[in-house]
């Protein structure tokens, strides 16, 4: 057992449901007790979905415990088949059903003989994988199912499209800024003269999946979901894939160069067939240069004097592997900030993450325990945090600004306006996010000169709320003179110092001694 207050990644069935409900005309039937259909609320509220979430529960109750849920599950599947005529019904186990150890596969077999649609059992183990891993797994499972089905029925068309084309794998519902990222990617690919064959799963239909192999290659924008599918497609259909995330100026350039590489090699290997029909200019360098220097504002921003003020400022980055690694590299390489700690909660992908951020950060934190992340932030006292909603709240408590860069997210992370993180417009959005997270440069400078704009009483912002320490009046007055935005930090440092040295009464002298002790 584990004492837990909060978790970064949800349970496995959430991942499965996110994939299922992203496809068009796919219905998920959860094998779950009453109240486990909370996913529908999230989709309806966070994503402001206009449509009914295609998820229903086949309720596990006392009767089911006594008699087994066989008939009920089969009935619910065939009923849904008649009501909604979906292409596919995905039977989704939950933690409850996985300990009941009923033969769900058997129900699926029975139900599929009685219904028009396909029926699959989502193959995830609740106690071994989390939301992200389950989503990756389910996406691969569905793709594999439809490609194998097409092969069996001889419906598979392996001819490549005449123009270069790609599949985008891993865009789906409740993903962090996924819809915006998807539009930005489409725009980027269009600029490069590459058409999009299929976007999976968001908005695509399972009946189209058999067309996946017609694309020249695959793109996996986020490592968390889509990689398994890409690897499967590479093994089975010899389709190359790109898993570089086009986030930030440098990564976007790398991403485009990788596309360039793939196109070149494909063009060489099928020389006669394709090259003459394809007027593509296989050199993307001038495009990268043009976009970087003049279309995206981010490269110019890094040179501008605003960004100069950010040089060497301490930050902490935490999030899923994709976003945390990309943002760390952007902050360090493209803006000259210092990342004191970079971390991820994707423990299953820890090695990749370490490899990515090594050299860009002082320390790496791999944990899914939010208190560890909170303590680390309190210890480092960065000038800004880039993390999830949890880190935003830690930041609020410690009076440190935070930019949200990764799920788990809240409703405000589903903006109505266009806010991609990927591609060249993404670099602009990230630059804004980073810049706005800090006290603005000139203001910062002026505050230092004039001693802050407020003369409010000092409020304790310490993580621990006990106060065994007394501040002498003149020490408090001295504290008031310190600009507001660092006052909390000075207060905490002084109190920490006092505690370490067993001092009960804080005088001006103690304050200065503390200042010297931390050499700040």
């Amino acid at each position: 057992m584990k004492l837990a207050y909060w978790m970064y990644a949800g349970p496995a069935h959430i991942g499965t449901l996110r994939v299922a409900s992203s496809f068009k005309n796919v219905h998920a039937v959860m094998h779950a007790p009453l109240g486990d259909d909370y996913f529908n609320v999230m989709r309806s509220m966070l994503e402001r979905s206009r449509d009914f979430t295609p998820v229903t529960a086949s309720i596990v109750d006392r009767h089911v415990l006594a008699r087994g849920s066989g008939e009920k599950v089969v009935e619910n599947i065939t009923r849904k088949d008649k009501e909604d005529c979906p292409d596919l019904i995905l039977l989704t186990p939950t933690c409850t059903s996985s300990i009941l150890q009923e033969d769900l596969q058997n129900f699926v077999n029975r139900a599929s003989t009685e219904s028009k649609c396909d029926v699959i059992l989502a193959d995830v183990n609740h106690y071994r994988v989390n939301e992200i891993q389950a989503a990756d797994r389910t996406l691969e499972q569905i793709i594999r199912f439809y490609l194998e089905k097409a092969m069996k029925n001889n419906e598979l068309n392996l001819n490549k499209t005449t123009e270069p084309s790609v599949n985008i794998l891993g865009m789906f519902t409740l993903g962090f800024h996924n819809t915006h990222d998807c539009n930005e990617l489409k725009k980027l690919l269009k600029d490069l003269g590459i058409s999009v064959n299929l976007i999976v799963p968001e908005g695509s239909s399972v009946t189209e999946l058999k067309n996946l192999p017609q694309a020249w290659f695959n793109i996996v924008p986020y490592r968390e979901v889509g990689l398994m599918s890409a690897i499967y497609l590479e093994n089975e259909f010899n389709m190359p894939y790109i898993s570089t995330t086009p986030m930030g100026i440098l990564n976007t350039a790398t991403f485009i160069r990788e596309i360039n590489q793939i196109l070149k090699s494909l063009a060489i290997s099928s020389k006669e067939k394709q090259l003459h029909t394809n007027p593509l200019n296989l050199n993307f360098e001038s495009y990268i240069d043009q976009q970087t220097r003049f279309i995206s504002q981010a490269a110019w921003f890094s040179r501008s004097i605003d960004c100069q003020n950010l040089t060497g400022k301490k930050t902490v980055v935490f999030g899923d592997a994709t976003h945390a690694a990309s943002i760390t590299k952007i902050l360090v390489r493209e803006m000259g900030l210092k990342v004191s700690c970079a971390g991820t909660y994707c423990k299953h992908d820890a090695d990749w993450f370490r490899e990515q951020v090594t050299g860009y950060t002082d320390q790496i934190l791999i944990t899914d325990d939010h208190t560890q992340v909170g303590d680390m932030i309190a210890r480092i006292e960065p000038a800004a945090i880039f993390g999830t909603q949890m880190e935003r709240h830690v930041g609020k408590r410690l009076d440190i600004p935070c930019g949200v860069i990764s799920a788990p997210v809240h409703i405000q992370n589903f903006p109505l306006g266009y806010r991609p993180f990927l591609g060249y417009e993404g670099t602009n959005q990230i630059a804004d996010l980073v810049y706005n997270s800090f006290t603005l440069g000139m203001e910062d400078h002026l505050l230092e000169i004039f001693g802050g704009h407020d003369t409010k009483e000092v409020i304790t912002k310490a993580l621990s709320n006990e106060s065994d320490l007394t501040w002498q009046t003149d020490a408090l007055q001295e504290l008031q003179k310190i600009p507001g935005f660092v006052r909390g930090k000075v207060k905490r440092n002084t109190e920490k110092f006092a505690r370490q040295n067993n001092i009960k009464l804080i005088t001006v002298e103690v304050m200065f001694a503390a200042k010297e002790a931390v050499a700040a």
């Binding site: 057992m1 584990k2 004492l3 837990a4 207050y5 909060w6 978790m7 949800g10 349970p11 069935h13 959430i14 779950a32 007790p33 009453l34 109240g35 486990d36 259909d37 909370y38 529908n40 609320v41 999230m42 309806s44 509220m45 402001r48 979905s49 206009r50 449509d51 009914f52 979430t53 229903t56 529960a57 086949s58 309720i59 596990v60 109750d61 006392r62 415990l65 619910n76 009501e83 939950t94 933690c95 409850t96 300990i99 009941l100 609740h126 106690y127 071994r128 989390n130 949890m390 709240h393 809240h410």
Partner: protein, 432 residues
């Protein structure tokens, strides 16, 4: 719709919150408590998302998250729980730890009731066990299971013998968790009739739980407390006053009148008080008279709310409800029937364990002016031009007593007032 109450039962495929959500309001109500939900990631994810911002305020509740080794009994449940409870004792030092049993502890048959007394002795903190799981209960019934368990912990006699003398006969204890301001309001309301409320279950702190014995009258303030009522009658030998619930001015008056009649008191000035309240509501009543309502059903407040809205002049098409205890709600059902006759409207159908899919077909057919529904259906219905109100808000808003009737109408009329603001724009249907 008929003149007699009729009850239907559908498939039970409906959306509601898991009953473990009760920790969110109970930990705030019982200030020295700690709620430990013994369940899986699924339970934790629900709590974290359903309770949103509250989670960040260092709540006095946590998950004991079961891992694979717990499920396959490779670890000793007792030792594991002891380890976690000692940690809670050290970090928070609560006066009581409430264990919330979940679906998983039910299925693997973890003997929480058996372990609690042993562990209680071991660590010196009372441990109350409530099985608030989705296999048996819906949403607000979670509170019912906790209060039923807590009723067993109430003292039988006051420690001070002098005090127990004066309270010896006919003291009144109210049960149901309400914010302290409403507790004060309802206490005052009864005081005006010369009735002193001896205590509440739950009280503001665990150590103030009321005295319960055969001389105590008990009365519920919420319609979902049937297990608690049963426990109070059978295990604690209390006398239950079956009254309508103090929701809306009509309900509040009927509630006080019933208590008065049982305690042999002639109620004073109640009729005038009710009339006064209705007068102050007139601006809202104008907006809803003649309008129709459809309750999809998810929190068991539905009968009382429907009764109040019918009295307000609305027409109720359907009352969906997760579970209908006809005995505990008998007085409320009677008042519903009487209200329908008085207002000259047919009695709405009461649908127990509704089927949301069928309900949505009926909603599409009936086109009610307001649909009271959970958040899973609210946005999709709005996009189809059906005006909705989230049912969960009624659980968290202050709706009890005379003075809070306005709050209920504030909630009900909000979507209508929104419609009045936006209706001229010409886009009410936003799906293709």
């Amino acid at each position: 719709m008929t003149e007699q109450l009729s009850f239907e039962c559908e498939t039970g495929n409906y959306h509601t919150f898991c009953p473990i959500s009760c920790v969110s309001w109970l930990y705030q109500k019982i200030e020295d408590s700690f709620f430990l939900v013994i369940g899986t990631k699924t339970c934790g994810y629900f709590l974290q998302n359903a309770l949103g911002v509250m989670i960040f305020a260092e709540p006095r509740y946590a998950m004991a998250e079961l891992e694979e080794s717990d499920i396959s009994a490779q670890l000793n449940d007792y030792k594991e729980l002891k380890r976690l409870c000692l940690q809670i004792k050290q970090d928070r030092n609560p006066s009581v730890i409430v264990w919330i049993g979940t679906c998983t502890t039910e299925i693997i048959k973890m003997d929480l009731e058996g372990m609690a007394p042993k562990l209680e002795l071991d660590i010196g903190i009372p441990i109350v066990v409530a099985r608030a799981n989705g296999l048996d209960y819906a949403f607000t019934q979670g509170e019912d299971t906790v209060l039923a368990a807590m009723a067993q912990r109430c003292p039988t006699n006051k420690l001070n013998p002098l005090l127990s003398q004066e309270n010896n006969n006919n003291s009144l204890v109210l049960f149901g968790s309400l914010p302290s301001t409403i507790v004060t309001q309802l206490n005052l309301e009864l005081k005006q009739q010369g009735i002193d409320v001896a205590g509440w279950l739950p009280a503001q702190s665990y150590n103030e739980l009321p005295v319960l014995n055969e001389n105590v009258y008990v009365c519920g303030i919420n319609p979902f407390l049937s297990r608690t009522a049963t426990t109070l009658m059978r295990r604690r030998k209390c006398k239950l006053i079956a009254a309508p619930f103090p929701i809306g001015p009509d309900g509040t008056r009927a509630w006080i009148e019933k208590i008065c009649s049982v305690l042999d008191i002639l109620p004073q000035g109640l009729e005038e008080r009710e009339m006064k309240i209705w007068e102050t509501l007139e601006d809202y009543l104008k907006l809803i008279r003649g309008k129709s309502v459809f309750f999809m059903g998810d929190n068991l407040l539905e009968i009382s709310l429907a009764r109040f809205l019918i009295r307000c002049g609305m027409i109720v098409y359907e009352i969906g409800i997760p579970y209908m205890d006809k005995r505990f709600q008998s007085a409320e059902l009677e008042l519903l029937q009487k209200t329908c006759v008085q207002m000259n409207v047919p009695i709405p159908r009461i649908v127990e364990k509704p089927d949301n899919y069928y309900q949505i077909q009926r909603i599409k057919e009936l086109q009610p002016d307001i649909t009271i529904t959970g958040m899973a259906h609210a946005n999709p219905l709005e996009a189809r031009g059906i005006t909705t109100k989230w049912s969960v808000e009624f659980t968290f808003a202050q709706i009890h007593g005379f003075s809070n009737s306005r709050e209920i109408l504030e909630l009900i009329t909000r979507p209508l007032r929104r419609n009045n603001n936006l209706d001229t724009l010409g886009f009410s249907k936003l799906v293709k």
